[in-house]
Each structure stands twice: as structure tokens, then as C-alpha cells.
């Protein structure tokens, strides 16, 4: 298993990032936009990437680290290949989202924001994704699963995970 914690950015990723920095360098207040794009490129924002942004935008590292850790969308750790994001908005919560979250934690044996040892799955308890008509709802990568039967959580969760375990 590769050690996911070691930074392994490619030159292509770096040149993409440099392009974005170049474009945004003179735009006022562009740091958050650059961080969003950098996270798109690398999947997360390790210190190495923050350092490149710091140099490129001429913003001190303390400020960048401050911003990255302030906003929940920015992640210092890589996520799993399949990120299971369970909506914890009120509409989903009153319809059993807590039970679903617990079941995923148990099945994958990781905590919220954790990644499985093989790097395949991670769990996220997300803020309302606004699909309250489908409550309780969750996403795995870009796939959406809604109207999950709160009285049949273990079977529903097993069914969802099966779609990814064999891939």
C-alpha cells in the first residue's frame, strides 16, 4: 500500500497550479478561489501546495494555513477514492441520517473524516446539500443516493457499498 501521506505532486499538476496563480495574482481577494482550484488539481491541500501558493501570490504561509483550516471544504488530508458524504442537514437528520452515518462508520471501521487503510473509502458528515426532497440523502463521489429507508439501514448501506467494493 502506498503511503498516502507523502506528497506526490506531478510536474503537470504544478504547471496547472502556476497557470491559475498567474491568472489570479492581481485579483483582489483571490486566495480562496486559488485554493478551490488547487484542491481540484491535487484532491487536497498539503503544506507543499500551500507553500507554492504562498510564493506565487506573495501571501504569508500563516495567512494561507489560517484560511485553509478555517473553511471546512479545504482538506489537509487526502480523501478516499470514494468519499461517502452523508447529508446532516435538519431534514435528513430528523429522517434518520444519524443512523446511516453510524452504520457507515461501523461498516468501514473509520470515523468521520477518516480514510480506510486501503485509501478507498472516506466518510464525511456534510452540511445540507439542499436535496431535502430526497431525505435522507448521501453521495458517494458523484453518485447520489436518496430516500434511504431509515428502517432498513444496514441492508441499504450494504447495497450502496457493494457498488464500490468490487470496482
Amino acid at each position: 500500500m502506498p503511503d498516502v501521506k507523502t506528497f506526490s505532486g506531478t510536474p503537470e499538476q504544478q504547471s496547472k497550479l502556476m497557470e491559475i496563480i498567474e491568472k489570479q495574482k492581481n485579483v483582489r481577494g483571490s486566495l480562496i478561489a486559488v485554493l478551490h482550484e488547487a484542491q481540484q488539481i491535487y484532491g487536497y491541500l498539503p503544506i507543499e501546495v500551500q507553500e507554492m501558493i504562498s510564493k506565487g501570490l506573495n501571501v504569508p504561509m500563516t495567512e494561507i494555513y489560517g484560511v485553509v483550516t478555517f473553511y471546512t471544504q479545504f482538506s489537509l488530508e487526502p480523501k478516499g477514492k470514494y468519499n461517502v458524504a452523508i447529508c446532516m442537514g435538519t431534514a435528513c437528520y430528523v429522517k434518520g441520517a444519524g443512523k446511516i452515518l453510524d452504520e457507515f462508520k461501523k461498516e468501514l471501521d473509520i470515523d468521520v473524516d477518516g480514510v480506510t487503510d486501503d485509501g478507498k473509502f472516506s466518510i464525511e458528515a456534510t452540511r445540507c446539500i439542499g436535496a431535502c426532497g430526497l431525505a435522507p440523502v448521501l453521495t458517494v463521489g458523484d453518485d447520489v443516493y436518496g430516500r434511504i429507508d431509515e428502517h432498513n439501514v444496514p441492508a441499504e448501506v450494504a447495497k450502496i457499498l457493494k457498488n464500490y467494493k468490487e470496482v
Binding site: 481577494g29 480562496i32 484560511v67 452540511r127 439501514v153
Partner: protein
């Protein structure tokens, strides 16, 4: 750059094209029908809810089937914004007849195309069940969900293609901006908004016109107009739906605001969690630029207005105006104390006005139809309508827009279709983490800004979560406090530490370890946090606790004195037991138990070892309903 006359040409041409979607009572009908090419329009909801339930497959299948039946030239498929009834998505409507198909599956499309579109007989079994009673078709606006609604802010959602500027123009789009910059003085615009009585829809309900006046009165070389689309309340999706369904209305309203206060730069601060809204808004901005409705010298009036999108990054506190401004500046989104108010010193230190999406959505229509018209809707203190995201334990989950003054009961029982059969409507939560729970006894209170505050809740941005007897009010209070603790930015002590202490107490209570003194401490802490926090987040954070204590103190006492959770939610206080009289020893639950806590020989009564039981509830779901032998005590 388009002139007013050119805009009118587009309007006339496309009014004909879209007139199919309007019933005969509407003024648009019959105008320029000759330019209409398609004989039918199929509108498919493309809001986030319906995208998640698979509307893209429906659209693909429609195109395929229409093509193979050679109907693709005469029937248009249009992806539109939210119809509101998310509970039965994916949704599509066929115009001009207005047939409303709900819970559509791709497999239904072939039959619908062959029967309805080729032969002309709507496929009744796939129609929305409320829109058909026996053999009688019920017009959509007569169905219980739509009957009491009045769409002002959502007027174009579900009616126009949000990615087509011509359709927006056809429904009077950019007419208000054209009128304002060519015929009106900035002060005239402010006066109309002031006179209309419009109040901010983001939560606090401050007079929009007064806010604009403050900014207009300040002399400055540069001013800014901001739109708060950082809709953070869990369970609220009004603003997202407006941006997804009618993005041009926000652009037009912001340009109007810019003209009124003397600003030529605007920013829309929008949640990154809303990718569809971000994409459609960007498309709309590009189109407006191309048409010269944004940019320099709009309508040859000398007025310039530029608009940019700024993405949030997941921080609830950024919905607070000063925090939002700091976040647009690219910094940690922490609030600061006021005054100075943003109207005096805001973004980059310049005078700034900030309004919420729904507030802006009201602006063009007020300019077009006048303040007097707007004042006929709603109550004396709260003019107009309010959009609510109806969710939770209710049948018709979705987006509703109602005139102010309607009662909560009308929304829940009539529009919402009530809670599930056999359950009781216990409370509704409005205002999200800043609001409170309204018990069913107060459900006849009219919904307006003042009445809601009087009963311990608030209008908030419009989340309305319905709860039934399966919801534990202590648990709900804890849920919101967990949210606030997580989202507190940490700048001021009362909010950072105070809410955490409150959460610890609630944890204690839900575990059955609370004391009566704890309840008193909660009240004292609440009062202190409310009066000493820096920003709105902290000042309102205790509201969910205070309102549940006010109306459901008996539930708190049941947790504290009797160590019982009456709703059966708080795990530590529950015990799963097998009813000896009902258990036949089939062993199904025993096989399903993940911790082997269920004991007993086949064909004899089983029992649950409480030491091993983790209270996961699997056994209760597995026990065949004909026995129903496992219960929670």
C-alpha cells in the same frame, strides 16, 4: 449592446414562443402566436433535487423517443428550475395542456410519448396523483400543494429555461432595469423599494429601502453591491432554487441596486456546495454581458455595472454580513463588530450593500408593478411573500412561496399535506440554528416577522422543518447546538466556549445524567451568550434550546427526572426488550443481531442481554411485522 427597442423585439418574439406555458387568463396569451414553432413544450425540472433523482436520464430518453417518433421538430424539451414539489421528483410538465407527471422513470417515457404526444391522451397512471380525481383533471394551481401559494420571488422558477436569456426577457426580464436607468433617478428607485415595505429575506428582516438609502447617502469613489447566496441553514434551499431556476433576476436586481446606491461593481457570494447554481449563474452573467445588460454604458445611459461570482468554502458564519465581506476579501471569514456598518465601511473599506437572494428576486417585479401592487400582498408590517423550504416529517417536501400572514397550520396541513398517517404534528422549526421550535398549539399564529419573534422563533431565511411525535425535542436542540459549536468561528468567548458548555449539558441530559440544576444553568448561559456574543451567530445560538425549554420543558424533565426519552430517540435512555407474549422464537432477530445480544433456543421465547445490546435497532426492523415482538421501553 442591446437597446431598449431591441430588447422589446426579443420580448415580443419569444413571448410567442413561451405563451404555450401560460393559461388563457394571462396577458401574454395570444400575443405573437404566429412566431411559435413548437406545438408543445415539455418542461423537465432541473433543480438539484430532481437532478439527484435522475432527471438527466429522463431528458435523454425524451430526446431519443421524440426523435424516433419524428416529433423533435414540433415538441421542445426545456430543462427548467424547481417546480417546488421535490417530494415527487423527477417531475415534468407538458404544455399547453399542463399535464404534470411526477416520480417519472426513464421507462415511462416511451409510453408517454406514444400515448400522450402522438395520440393526445395523457397517461393518467403517471400523472401527479393530486392532479387527478377519478376522471376529472384538476388544474395544477387548484391542487392542495399549489392552491394557497403565490409565486413572486419564484415567479419564473419552473417556467423558463434558466440558461436562455431570451426566455427571461420574454417574461418582462430586464424591463425594470431598462426603465430605471433610462427614465428614473437613483433616488426614485430607492423610494419605490422603501415605499413597498420590502424587508430583507435573509433572516433579520431589515427594511431593504432604508439599507439602500444609507449606502446612497455616503459619498465615495467606489461602492459595492453584494448578494448573499451562502445559504447555510441546514434544510433550507430557497436561494439555491432561485439561482438555479431564474439567475437573471438576481443579476437584474443587483444592477438595479447598483444604480440606486451608485455602485458599479457587484459580487455574488455563493456556496461551493451548489455547483448547478454556480454554473447557471455564470452562464447568465456571460449572456448578460453579451447582451450589454452588464458592463459599461448599459442601455446607453452612462451607467456601468460589473458582476463577479465568489465561492464560499463551507463556513456557516459567512452568512453574517461582516464575515461574508471578510471572506470575499480572501481571508478567514470572521465577523467584526458594528458600527461601522457595511453601508459606511464594507468590502475593501468601501460603502457596501448586502442583500439576500430572495430579497433581490423581489426587486425587478416591484419596479415593474409598483410599490402599491406589492403592498396588497402580505400583512401591514410584513409585505409580500416568503419562500419556505418545507422538509422533515411531512408529505409534500419541497419549496413553497406563500403570502405573509398565512398560518403555520395552513402551510403544514394544507400545502404540506400533513405528517404521515397515524403520526401527530408536534412542532415546526423555523429559522434554522438561530430559530426555534413552534409547538402545534401555536400553529395558528400568522407567519410574519414580528409574530414569529414573539413566540420565540424567527423567520430566518426560510427553512421549515416539520416534526412529529417520533422527534425528541431535547435531541433537536442538541442537534442545532452541535451545529453551532462546530460552526462558531472562535473569535469571541461567549460563542466559542459558552455554546460548548451548553452542548455538554445537553449531552448529559440526553444520557440521563442531567439534573434540575443543569436546566437552570442552561437558561443562565443562554441569556449570557445572547447578550454578549459578537455577531448574530452567537446571539441567536441559544434560541433552539430556549424555545424547546419554553414549550417542551416536560420532555427535558422526563429525561432528567424519569431517565426516559418520550419520543424514543435518545439511545442511552432506551431499552430494547422482547415481549414474551408475542415472541414465537423464530430466531430471525437473533441471526441479525451484530453483537449476539439476543439469546434463546429455537421455538422458545428469546430475550435481549442488555449488557451486550448496542441499541442499534436492527432487531426491531427484522422482527416480522406479524409478530411485532420487540419494543422500545
Amino acid at each position: 449592446m442591446k437597446s431598449l427597442a431591441e430588447l422589446q423585439v426579443i420580448r415580443d418574439k419569444h413571448a410567442g414562443l413561451v405563451s404555450l406555458r401560460i393559461d388563457e387568463n394571462d396577458q401574454l396569451h395570444g400575443k405573437c402566436d404566429s412566431t411559435s414553432i413548437a406545438r408543445k413544450h415539455i418542461l423537465v425540472c432541473g433543480g438539484t433535487g430532481c437532478v439527484a433523482s435522475g432527471c438527466k436520464k429522463i431528458v435523454d430518453e425524451l430526446h431519443k423517443q421524440l426523435k424516433s417518433h419524428k416529433l423533435d421538430k414540433e415538441i421542445d424539451v426545456v430543462v427548467v428550475g424547481c417546480f417546488g414539489l421535490c417530494a415527487v421528483g423527477p417531475i415534468m410538465i407538458v404544455y399547453p395542456e399542463g399535464s404534470f407527471y411526477s416520480l417519472v422513470e426513464p421507462e415511462y417515457i416511451q409510453e408517454i410519448v406514444e400515448e400522450h404526444l402522438v395520440k393526445g391522451h395523457p397517461v393518467k397512471k403517471y400523472l401527479y396523483d393530486e392532479s387527478i380525481k377519478g376522471d376529472v383533471d384538476i388544474p395544477l394551481n387548484e391542487t392542495p400543494f399549489y392552491k394557497k401559494q403565490l409565486r413572486v420571488a419564484l415567479r419564473n422558477c419552473g417556467l423558463i429555461d434558466p440558461e436562455c436569456i431570451e426566455e427571461y426577457i420574454a417574461f418582462d426580464g430586464y424591463a425594470a432595469l431598462g426603465k430605471a436607468v433610462t427614465e428614473m433617478k437613483p433616488q426614485d428607485v430607492i423610494d419605490i423599494i422603501k415605499d413597498s415595505g420590502l424587508r430583507g429575506r435573509g433572516g433579520a428582516g431589515f427594511s431593504t429601502g432604508t439599507k439602500w438609502q444609507f449606502a446612497a447617502n455616503v459619498e465615495s469613489d467606489q461602492k459595492y453591491v453584494l448578494c448573499n447566496a451562502d445559504e447555510g441553514d441546514p434544510g433550507a434551499f430557497m436561494d439555491r432554487s432561485i439561482l438555479e431556476g431564474d439567475p437573471h433576476t438576481i443579476i437584474e436586481a443587483m444592477a438595479l441596486a447598483g444604480y440606486a446606491v451608485g455602485a458599479n461593481q457587484g459580487y455574488v457570494y455563493i456556496r461551493a456546495e451548489y455547483p448547478i447554481a454556480v454554473e447557471r449563474l455564470q452562464i447568465a452573467i456571460d449572456q448578460a454581458l453579451e447582451f450589454g445588460l452588464l458592463g459599461n454604458n448599459i442601455f446607453d445611459s452612462g451607467f456601468d455595472f460589473h458582476l463577479e461570482v465568489r465561492l464560499g468554502a463551507g463556513a456557516f458564519v459567512c452568512g453574517e454580513e461582516t464575515a461574508l465581506i471578510t471572506s470575499i476579501e480572501g481571508k478567514r471569514g470572521e465577523p467584526r463588530s458594528r458600527p461601522p456598518f457595511p453601508a459606511v465601511r464594507g468590502l475593501f473599506g468601501k460603502p457596501t450593500i448586502l442583500n439576500n437572494v430572495e430579497t433581490y428576486a423581489n426587486i425587478p417585479v416591484i419596479i415593474n408593478k409598483g410599490a402599491e401592487w406589492f403592498k396588497t400582498i402580505g400583512t401591514d408590517g410584513s409585505r409580500g411573500t416568503k419562500v419556505f423550504a418545507l422538509g422533515g416529517k411531512i408529505k409534500n417536501i419541497g419549496l413553497v412561496e406563500v403570502p405573509m400572514g398565512i398560518t403555520l397550520r395552513e402551510i403544514v396541513e394544507e400545502i404540506g399535506g400533513n405528517v404521515a398517517p397515524g403520526k401527530t404534528f408536534k412542532a415546526a422549526q423555523t429559522g434554522g440554528p438561530s430559530g426555534g421550535c413552534i409547538p402545534t398549539e401555536l400553529a395558528d399564529t400568522p407567519i410574519d416577522f414580528e409574530s414569529l419573534i414573539e413566540i420565540g422563533s424567527m423567520m430566518g431565511s426560510g427553512g421549515l422543518i416539520v416534526m412529529d411525535d417520533d422527534s425528541c425535542m431535547v435531541d433537536i436542540a442538541k442537534f442545532f447546538l452541535e451545529f453551532t459549536v462546530d460552526e462558531s468561528c472562535g473569535k469571541c468567548v461567549p460563542c466559542r466556549i459558552g455554546t460548548k458548555r451548553m452542548l455538554e449539558i445537553l449531552d448529559k441530559i440526553t444520557e440521563g445524567k442531567g439534573t434540575l440544576e443543569d436546566i437552570e444553568t442552561l437558561k443562565v448561559l443562554s441569556a449570557n451568550i445572547k447578550s454578549t456574543s459578537l455577531c448574530g451567530l452567537g446571539q441567536t445560538a441559544p434560541n433552539p434550546v430556549l424555545s424547546t425549554l419554553r414549550y417542551f420543558e416536560d420532555e427535558y424533565l422526563a429525561h432528567v427526572n424519569d431517565h426516559k426519552c418520550p419520543a424514543g430517540v435518545c439511545k442511552s435512555l432506551l431499552k430494547y426488550v422482547i415481549d414474551e407474549d408475542k415472541c414465537v422464537g423464530c430466531g430471525i432477530c437473533k441471526r441479525g443481531c451484530p453483537t449476539n445480544a439476543i439469546k434463546g433456543e429455537p421455538k422458545t421465547t428469546h430475550y435481549i442481554d442488555q449488557e451486550l445490546c448496542t441499541k442499534c435497532g436492527i432487531c426491531i426492523d427484522m422482527c416480522p411485522p406479524k409478530f411485532g415482538a420487540i419494543k422500545i421501553v
